[in-house]
């Protein structure tokens, strides 16, 4: 490290994967606003159609707010480490944009989350719309954190949601979700 951190290597790696924006750290509301503004100005300066810009922005907001809400919920749970950090990436693959968001989750939360995601993966656009409307008028308490947000994200995606869970230790996993707009 006598020459300092090799930022160039990180930069090259991000460029190789066509990553436009990458954030790793604690998600606060003001950071979500700032990244949102950066995404907006990037998308509006290019040739991106307004509908696609809206979808990328919407997916970013829902995923970032999910990570933030989950971290808030996990705070103070006995036996779990406090995680308010998340990782977020917006990139391009072929001619489409993708948004990936990841965070540390309690192992016990993974199974119900995976079940929800699998259910969404099995629905077509009409099925997703029906489910969305059903949840929209359901009482708030039964909503359960990421309920509406994930359905909205699935509706804006051009392909079924992709997710993975990477091992950390016996109580924690790193969960990541990728949405292709």
């Amino acid at each position: 490290m006598s020459d300092g951190f090799d930022l160039y290597r990180l930069r090259m790696s991000l460029m190789e994967d066509d990553i436009l924006i990458c954030f790793n750290g604690p998600f606060s509301h003001s950071i979500i606003e700032e990244i949102g503004l950066a995404i907006r100005s990037y998308l509006e300066s290019g040739e991106t159609p307004p509908s696609a810009s809206t979808d990328v922005f919407a997916v970013f907001v829902e995923l970032a707010q999910n990570v933030q809400a989950y971290a808030a919920r996990l705070k103070g749970v006995a036996g779990l480490r406090a995680f308010d950090a998340g990782t977020l990436v917006i990139g391009r693959t072929d001619a489409r944009f993708f948004v990936s968001a990841g965070n540390v989750v309690a192992r016990a939360d993974m199974e119900p989350l995976a079940a929800r995601l699998e259910a969404l993966r099995g629905l077509d656009k009409d099925g997703l719309k029906r489910l969305y409307k059903e949840r929209l008028r359901a009482p708030r308490a039964s909503e359960g954190g990421a309920g509406l947000g994930l359905i909205d994200v699935a509706r804006r995606a051009s392909e079924p949601l992709r997710y993975r869970a990477s091992e950390i230790d016996d109580r924690h996993l790193f969960f990541s979700l990728t949405v292709l707009v």
Partner: protein, 128 residues
Amino acid sequence: MDNLIIEASTSSPRVRLDAESGIAEFGGESYPENAFDFYEPISLWFRRFIAESSAALRLQIRLSYLNTSSTKCLVDILDELDEAYGKGRDVRVSWYCDRRNERAQESAQEFGEDIDMPFEVLLEEGAS
């Protein structure tokens, strides 16, 4: 009853609820940190307006984006207005969208799908 005026921030809309004219306006984007907290006084204002006045209500919306929590809050408000409409109240909703943004238009249309009161989506040049 009082008017309710809230200035816009990066993630919350500008709100103007005028009890005298019966004109209610929303403009901007809505993804506040806590949508339920943000919309609670707004929802309360509409409830009072319905209960305490018999004047017509014109809701004019220029929201280019709402996150799902905000969408839920707005749907709750629209449902209450729709109920008032069902009891004979003069209520009308006009939603203005950017002509070029089809996704924003679809989202706006969807708000009108499950209500009976007059609800129109109007296209504007370069609207928010």
